[in-house]
Symmetry: C2
Subunit: 422 residues, 2 copies
């Protein structure tokens, strides 16, 4: 049992609010949230927050964790060339052990950014799961069915396996994208959704050419086509959602589909700026992802949160657009709900103990005129004091606790790069 006390707690249920509550964890669960009490159990550790802020961890709701190996290797080219010239040829050189090592490197970066769960779309999922379990990190895998897959039925086997493997791992159905997946395969995935009454996700309306290509191929936008195929019958959503028509937005709102926005990746690949404020006002549920460090080039939720808000202000010509409290809720709560992690969404008894402590005693958090705005508009990785997943402290004051030193994880990533680059 661990006790957090003498600080501030951000709770979302019933409207976001800061409290002076202390928080106890027991195993992987939050066991008490409330005022200090005399009848305290014996704690394994008592953490004096010293005025700092405890909040639910950020959820990175779209990423490709192991792709951090491409950081700063494949910049300054558009999405199609980036995929065909850099990503796919280099990824072809990765085996299970590489994915294991590189996933661990990505996990270090999540921890240093206050991220407690990833919605990860990658391959070599056995190695991916092992990396997450070994580091004590939570990950929801999304399948990436496409026309290059040799063994289509592997999706169903993975769905069953990874949803019963370990409490830190779960699995959601998905295709890579309409533009990489034939109609027959999209229909197959929709049939799995029907069979398991499961939500489906995909890269969606990321670039203009992808979106226009779908209209040319099928006479429908990607959201409309997939909806027609039954892909969204049990919910789900899209990653990116940059080129959404008004009808697409209305469809997402009507079906309660998640738009997962990845603003830094969309800027850096010159894909565009998603109409987040338009979607928000239409009632589309929203979450935030970093996309991979191969494209954006960092797994940094502070940067994403700032961009979600600031880009809407400039595209809407309205400095009041997309306010900070809405954005922080997307990062903490929206992500959890999009990923099927309802029990990781808040600081409340019975929730999983996936928590972050932010250091408010750094100059960028002073004065404390408005702590939520400080986080969204001025926060940085320097503010992450502690990251806890499933009740275990995995990061604290610059140190990682993932079963191996950061330096050894870097060494192995370096060796992989030497092999890949010849």
């Amino acid at each position: 049992m661990i006790r957090f006390y003498n600080g501030k707690t951000l709770r979302f249920e019933g409207g976001a609010r800061l409290t002076a509550d202390e928080v106890w964890t027991d195993g992987g669960v939050i066991s008490y949230v409330g005022p200090a009490r005399e009848d305290r159990p014996a704690f394994e550790r008592e953490i004096d927050l010293g005025g700092d802020l405890l909040l639910p961890g950020f959820k990175d709701a779209h990423t490709h964790t192991a792709m951090c190996f491409l950081r700063s290797l494949a910049d300054d080219m558009p999405l199609d060339r980036w995929l065909t010239e850099q990503v796919w040829p280099n990824e072809a050189k990765l085996g299970a052990e590489e994915v294991y090592d590189l996933t661990r490197l990505g996990i270090l970066e999540y921890l240093s950014s206050g991220v407690t769960a990833s919605f990860d779309m990658y391959f070599e999922n056995e190695a991916n799961a092992r990396a997450n379990i070994d580091c004590g990190f939570r990950s929801v895998f999304c399948s990436a069915l496409n026309d290059f897959d040799k063994d289509v039925e592997n999706i169903e086997r993975e769905y069953l396996r990874f949803n019963s493997l370990h409490p830190l791992i779960s699995y959601v159905l998905g295709i890579h994208g309409e533009y990489t997946t034939s109609l027959g395969r999209m229909e197959y995935l929709a049939s799995l959704a029907e069979k398991y009454k499961a939500p489906c996700f995909t890269h969606l309306c990321e670039t203009k050419s992808e979106t226009e290509g779908c209209v040319e191929r099928y006479g429908l936008t990607p959201p409309q086509l997939l909806d027609r195929l039954g892909f969204f019958r049990y919910g789900g959503g899209g990653y990116h959602c940059v080129w959404m028509s008004d009808e697409d937005v209305a469809l997402f709102a009507h079906r309660g589909l998640w738009a997962v926005t990845c603003p830094s990746s969309n800027l850096k690949l010159a894909s565009g700026i998603a109409p987040i404020e338009r979607m928000r006002l239409a009632g589309v549920p929203l979450a935030i992802g970093t996309d991979s460090a191969g494209s954006n080039n960092a797994l940094d939720m502070f940067r994403e949160m700032y961009l979600v808000s600031a880009l809407q202000k400039v595209t809407e010509s309205d400095a009041a657009a997309c306010p900070a409290d809405a954005v922080l809720e997307m990062a903490c709560v929206g992500g959890a709900r999009a990923m099927g992690l309802e029990d990781c969404r808040d600081v409340a008894p019975g929730m999983r103990a996936d928590l972050v402590v932010l250091d408010l005693k750094r100059p960028n958090m002073q004065p404390e005129n408005n702590i939520v705005k400080n986080i969204v508009y001025a926060g940085s990785k320097e503010n992450v004091r502690l990251t806890m997943i499933e009740g275990v402290v995995r990061y604290e004051r610059g140190e990682f606790f993932v079963g191996e030193s950061a330096e050894r994880i870097y060494d192995r990533a370096r060796a992989i790069m030497r092999r890949i680059r010849g």
Copy 2:
């Protein structure tokens, strides 16, 4: 004398390059840059870089340091309302002691962001100078002549006083902006420029309405009007430069005027996105500022560098636009030259010892495929290991060395906020 060794050094002269050079400082100056030598003097301290990177400090080429007191107090409104409803009424409550205390708070934030000099436009400059000198921070003040000034000739007195007061302080002529300054006062400032053969700076083309208003008032864009008045006869430039016509860009390129871009402030106040790539390709010299933490809301050069590049990629629909090496040079070298700090622009013998060490052993800097791209596209305040100004370490591994504890500086800022907010 201090020795930095066992790391990497980024040098700009003759083309940016990474070297294995070690660096010695002597007093406020860099005394040696080159391979390790046997004939070493006795050092006061030897700093083992352990593979980390030494580079010239970032220059924050447009800011209002003490305005950090407005952080997260005045968000979510456009520039005109933000100025009239929040900034000016609250600033009216500040006296010299408040400016002193708040400037010190802002300096802590610069140090934690690897910034070694500010181009600061504010009032109560005696207190401002004292704050910088007491903290050992370098600042170039820019006068902000406007129609509210009661004592116009104070500019000339300040120009003479602050250019001979202290090695850390200098002073550049400027007006607040065309839209706040009458023609007579702009002409007066131009006459001072002529008298001292000095460059002039101003807020310029920040918003569409400001720029259109100038055309209505004078039939000229702000750059053309000021140029006509002789304002730019000895150089200088503009802060923001968002709404620049092709003719304005050509004028800036022709005269070698500095465009100082503040992308995060321009987003957050919904002012627009400056045509940095267009200016860069036209040969306009470029530097980067944060603007104040009242508008953007952080003094974070990593965020600004990322935005300078990423926003151009999306507005130009070209992922190759505004590459990382050009942006890092703007932040380190461009800023120094814009501010008249030619001797703070590089790691070379004879230059001032204004240096930063970036920690490359954080997950966001791994693998080291391209260190410059890692800094610009993935860097964060968590990477700032050490900040040195004039040969003195002012920040190291989270600790500040500015003559007073951070906690006491926060306390005084808190007391000021209580007074202001009643």
